[in-house]
């Protein structure tokens, strides 16, 4: 089976002019998502994950931001499309679910009606038919007694059920790409796993591509087959899950990995990454991570490392040599492994 490219982002830049200066929320980002992928985007909050995807969906106000680059969706550049053409794609071919299911549904409309509305705005079918489809969708995402729950208002749903309803709404038109922006962050741990399972199931059943945004590398390691690590509006490392988790190249990725609580590493110390994310207005010279990087050396505060394959088999943006990286990472892991054994 040949892979079909769904989304190809090329050198995307999203800069917001503000009173304090130009906020470079996304600054030269390129990645590709194929059908069948669960493409994980990881990074601390503020690294530009949401802006990237909202821009792809045409939800970043073009008057409030300078947007350059290309967002090719099934071959068409979304950044060149007009508002109405974009609207026809949104919810139809490309759908998105969000972090906080508590605030994402309109509190004054019935859950079912909100899904019916999503169906009818792209398909001119009789309302009865749309309602029937909504029952089916609610049932498919695991909401019991869909006919009854159809008439509920969002506040009568639990957090997990609301996220299920959001997924049902997103899948109403069988889109090609589902963007899930931190879909489990606001939920209980047990519910998190169920929602991730549901997204995986939906992906396989509908044969779509999924972008899974999270600040939790643990979530990505469970479900993603490709991973992109973002820092300050850029990708610092990208590859398959095995590449990034088995052979991590960037000190920022190392930091993220060390902050995952491992069940099998009980007792080992969780190391938070020191320092705060940089200002997106005055980004540091050279590598934007260098002020927080314990391994910085000569060129780091002058040369901005581009993201490319530096000998590890997958691209990263760190000046250290591949050999050096292998050594340092092994060194950093030693105490953790010891503590675990």
């Amino acid at each position: 089976m040949s892979t079909e490219t769904l989304l190809e982002v090329k050198d995307l830049r999203v800069h917001f002019p503000t009173g304090d200066g130009l906020v470079k929320a996304v600054d030269g980002l390129s990645f590709t998502v194929d059908r069948g992928d669960t493409f994980g985007i990881v990074g601390e909050s503020g690294s530009g994950k949401s802006v990237t995807n909202l821009t792809a969906l045409g939800l970043t106000d073009r008057n409030a931001a300078n947007i350059t680059g290309e967002v090719l969706f099934k071959g068409r550049d979304l950044l060149k499309l007009g508002k109405e053409d974009l609207r026809k794609i949104r919810g139809k071919e490309m759908a998105m679910i969000f972090q906080d299911p508590f605030s994402c549904l309109h509190p004054f409309y019935r859950v079912g009606d909100q899904i019916v509305e999503a169906i009818l705005c792209h398909d001119k079918i009789p309302k009865k038919q749309a309602e029937q489809r909504t029952y089916d969708l609610l049932g498919a995402v695991g909401i019991p007694k869909p006919k009854e729950r159809f008439r509920d208002f969002p506040h009568q749903y639990s957090g997990g059920m609301r996220q299920r309803a959001m997924i049902a709404m997103a899948m109403a038109h069988n889109p090609d790409l589902l963007i899930a922006d931190e879909p489990t962050t606001a939920l209980d741990v047990t519910v998190q796993a169920q929602i991730l399972d549901l997204i995986e199931r939906v992906k396989t059943e509908f044969d779509i591509g999924v972008i899974l945004i999270t600040h939790d590398l643990g979530v990505v390691s469970e479900v993603a087959n490709k991973v992109m690590v973002m820092y300050a509006g850029r990708a610092v490392e990208m590859g398959t899950r095995d590449e990034v988790f088995g052979n991590p190249q960037h000190p920022y990725t190392w930091g993220l990995l060390e902050s995952i609580p491992h069940v099998d590493h009980k007792g080992s110390k969780l190391v938070p990454i020191e320092g705060a994310p940089p200002s997106l207005i005055r980004t540091p010279n050279g590598c934007s991570f260098h002020p927080r990087c314990p391994h910085r050396f000569d060129p780091c505060d002058k040369d901005d490392p581009e993201i490319k394959d530096r000998g590890a088999g997958h691209p990263d943006a760190c000046h250290l040599s591949a050999a050096e990286k292998t050594r340092v990472w092994a060194e950093r892991q030693a105490p953790r492994t010891k503590a675990a054994s």
Binding site: R90, G91, S103, C104, H106, F108, E117
Partner: protein, 324 residues
């Protein structure tokens, strides 16, 4: 819900009693009131009604007739007892039943209040929506300036200015005598349109600013982003925003209308509209206690009823609200 409404109704009665009691107390104690603090240990009201240099027997006679010779709690108890039975007493001046007199003055007040409220609701909401959608546009900025002007203008001044301008300079309005809508609708409209505008303009300013800021706040809600993300056309997205932004406006409208139904004192006086407000002012200047009490209790009644209606309507507008 039924239980809630019953409880609210009972509370409404308590509120009405409290209002009646406070007004009763104030006008009993006040100099020139009905208490026996006037000249010669007599009630000032009775003295006034007896005319110039009255014989003490006449004053006592009047006091007896009005029941002012009874102990205060008895007077109040009688008043409440009658009120519960729909009897607000008789005007000291005309001997007309107070309730009848007030009901006679309700249509002009209601015409004024309802007409003005429709104007400010429609204009306020429309201007607010356009200002929010076309934020920072010339329209938004100029409506802001007008809002500030009208907000800072006292009603009596705005009213006099309007009369000077429309009756005097332009001569397209005549301050005339009020005619009921049932007897002559055209004349009724001719008399009412300017007082409506004068009474409405301040509220147009308030409502348009409220609608605008509510809409701007709602624009950043996650569910509005969801509406866009699912591909709704812009007018549907705006409908989602309005559904949230206008809900508090409904509440405010109900309360404002309730307050106005108790009489718009200044506007009624300026435009010579024989409503409850004008009647109340007259009663105050002539120490006509039964009328003062009656108009006050009626005003309180409207506010309390408006509150009740607004709360019940709100439960239908916001499904999250549960009354127990």
């Amino acid at each position: 819900m039924t239980q809630y409404i019953v409880r609210r109704l009972l509370w409404s009665w308590v509120m009405l009693m409290l209002v009646a009691a406070s007004v009763f107390a104030i006008f009993f104690i006040l100099p020139g009131g009905s208490g026996k603090a006037g000249p010669g240990g007599h009630s000032s009201v009775a003295v006034m009604m007896a005319g110039k240099n009255p014989r003490p027997e006449l004053v006592e006679n009047i006091e007896q007739r009005l029941g002012l010779d009874q102990p205060v709690p008895v007077q109040f108890g009688r008043y409440i007892w009658r009120m519960v039975h729909g009897d607000l007493g008789y005007s000291y001046q005309s001997n007309q039943p107070v309730l009848e007199a007030i009901l006679l003055r309700l249509p002009p007040t209601a015409s004024l209040a309802i007409g003005a409220s429709i104007i400010w609701l429609v204009l306020g909401v429309l201007i607010g929506i356009v200002s929010a959608i076309k934020r920072r546009s010339l329209f938004d900025r100029s409506s802001m300036v007008f809002a500030l002007i009208f907000l800072s203008m006292p009603t009596f001044w705005l009213g006099l200015l309007a009369i000077f301008f429309f009756d005097g300079a332009l001569d397209i309005y005549d301050v005339g005598s009020y005619v009921g809508i049932t007897s002559d609708p055209v004349q009724w409209f001719k008399v009412m349109w300017l007082p409506w505008l004068v009474l409405a303009l301040t509220d147009v300013a308030i409502y348009s600013r409220l609608v605008r800021s509510n809409l701007l706040e709602v624009q950043n809600e996650d569910y509005v982003r969801t509406a866009r993300a699912k591909g709704l056309p812009e007018h549907s997205v705006i409908r989602h925003q309005l559904r949230s932004a206008l809900t508090p406006v409904v509440t405010m409208y109900g309360l404002d209308l309730g307050i106005l139904l108790g009489g718009a004192i200044i506007t009624e006086r300026i435009f010579n509209i024989p409503g409850i407000g004008a009647y109340a002012v007259h009663a105050v200047t002539s120490s006509n206690l039964p009328v003062i009490l009656g108009t006050t209790v009626l005003a309180a009644f409207f506010v309390i009823v408006a509150n009740l209606i607004v709360d019940i309507v709100y439960a239908f507008l916001d499904p999250r609200v549960v009354y127990k």
